[in-house]
Subunit: 386 residues, 2 copies
Amino acid sequence: MIGRESPLEADDRWARAAWSYLAEPRSPTLQALLEADGPVVALATLRRGRILDRALEVHPSCRPADLDGWAERLAELDLDGIARACEHEDLTVLVPGDLEWPEGLDRLGLPPPCLFVRGDQDLASLVERSVALVGSRAASEYGLRTAADLADGLAQRGFTVTSGAAYGIDGAAHRAALAADGPGVAVLACGADRYYPAPHRGLIDAVARTGAVVSESPPAGAPYRWRFLARNRLIAAMSRATVVVEAGLRSGSLSTAREARDVHLPVGAVPGPVSSATSAGCHMLVREYGAVLVTDAAEVAELAARVGDDLAPAADHGPRRPGDGLDATSFKVWSAVPVRGAVPTERIGLAAGVRTEVLHGVLAALEADGLVVREAGRWRKVRRKG
Amino acid sequence: MIGRESPLEADDRWARAAWSYLAEPRSPTLQALLEADGPVVALATLRRGRILDRALEVHPSCRPADLDGWAERLAELDLDGIARACEHEDLTVLVPGDLEWPEGLDRLGLPPPCLFVRGDQDLASLVERSVALVGSRAASEYGLRTAADLADGLAQRGFTVTSGAAYGIDGAAHRAALAADGPGVAVLACGADRYYPAPHRGLIDAVARTGAVVSESPPAGAPYRWRFLARNRLIAAMSRATVVVEAGLRSGSLSTAREARDVHLPVGAVPGPVSSATSAGCHMLVREYGAVLVTDAAEVAELAARVGDDLAPAADHGPRRPGDGLDATSFKVWSAVPVRGAVPTERIGLAAGVRTEVLHGVLAALEADGLVVREAGRWRKVRRKG
């Protein structure tokens, strides 16, 4: 036995939290171990010093270097401390199978073992109708204005705007969504209790208040460079579509588009002047990646609807969710009702694209099913508890 | 008999010239008559007052209104006068089957009965490697600059730039091609002896000196509005690719893109700011018409090469042309050699994308076949005489 063992290690959820501390994101070896043995047994195997033997059994192509750091980090692991930090910082630990676990993450070949979430909203509901708006940190005035226009229009259409809280396009998108009273999701490369970049502290807090701040790294986790690339797969997989607003040919935001494509989610790109280096990445996406050229929020909404509305409930996805089993019209209406900030009937009709005559009946049925609730003539989703 | 008959009416070429005066472009009835009877017999039938009967036989869906104007215009026809004007204005009358007849026109369902061409160049050679650059008359400064950049780059790569000599994008493209010493083709909606718009007189003359000014209307033909739309199909069909540089949603240049698509030629569109109304038509083409987004001359050249280099010689296309029967590499090299203004070997290699070691052997073989000629270390195509 090495390191300080905590009774929490016997708990699936906290064992996953421990793994998020021990292993860097996207470890194929960890994924194989979690699938074969589960987080608790895998952690016990690591404590017994037997993890390399077991890893070679379940993932024959693994190299010892893949898990070199695990034993060293195990010596430093303070799982009780992580749990205390989560309580103190009001972070929820979500694991696969939770009702709040975003379904889209199950598309990933290497999903995070758990998520740390700041904010009171139900993350699964938040991202049910979410678009990722991403782009260069070194954005032009044109890019910033376009990001804001798109985020505003998407928020007005009932979409959650998901991004990475970075300088440039990310920040412009988050701010405009907040200004339009739309919920947002910020996915960080550092712990969800930290602020990166530091000057975006106020912005990140605002997103947490109205939506969610999400990380796969435990509290206090540092924003290592490789974590940004890993983080981008979460932004892509948690959204119905990923739109690159402005990006140079070497912008990291192009990796978010690649991640979306890899999990077969639609990718949009905003064109710009051909003379602008900060649009060259967007043009490349359209030319070489089959990204859809988008010019306004309506076109982005169409892109997000294209696949999202066809999204068949995958088999073996754990417990049923509210919304499962609804007919197409009811699902559209239900999706358009926000979780917080009740909205009037007309706005739901607009967002869902459903005629008023039909709308009243559908809302009444959803209310009878306990899926939505009416407050002073306005509607919101019923919150689910995990 | 009505009207003044001319002995020239017995000649296929001049009978076609007469039809270009009698019928407006894109007449399905005329096309059926030309296919069934040829221009000389059809003209004689018109003179005998029997054209409606015959038209109903060869084109049962024709309406009397389709050929109402023909008899009236026949009374005004002065074919000897047209022939004199052609001689005076140095216009050549090209008909299908001529070596100089652009092969691409055979793609059209309703090709012109003949073409009137001003300029000494062989039109077929000129357009063998031609790109249409078209766009709004009311272009922005961005559009004008981009049109010029593309035309310059295409001229440097040995492409002929074809356009409509209009204000805005057309004019900018023609001027930049001329400035780069590249040949150009201007297709007019009025007679090739006229200048429309009038202030482009100098520009149109310059294109005629170095390339060709082309019209399907006879000398003195007026630039009627419908002739612009008809003219656009010639621009598209005579080019390997059509690129819309800048266009609003109602720009006539979008019809050129549609014509190119209708004859299965590639269409490119240049993106611009999403906030610019003059780029909205280009974005629409990419989103809804499957146009390829292009940002520079290299991408346009690639677009033009894609189909052009695969262009299989169609069956029943009349006499063989120089270039037929060459292997792919030789064809590329031969295509890259200009008809006028001999160029050094390296420039041909650059344009053709063929390595220098290979290039020398290919050029020597083409020279031996009498297809190219060397002048003071520079190469040009051997002019063909029709």
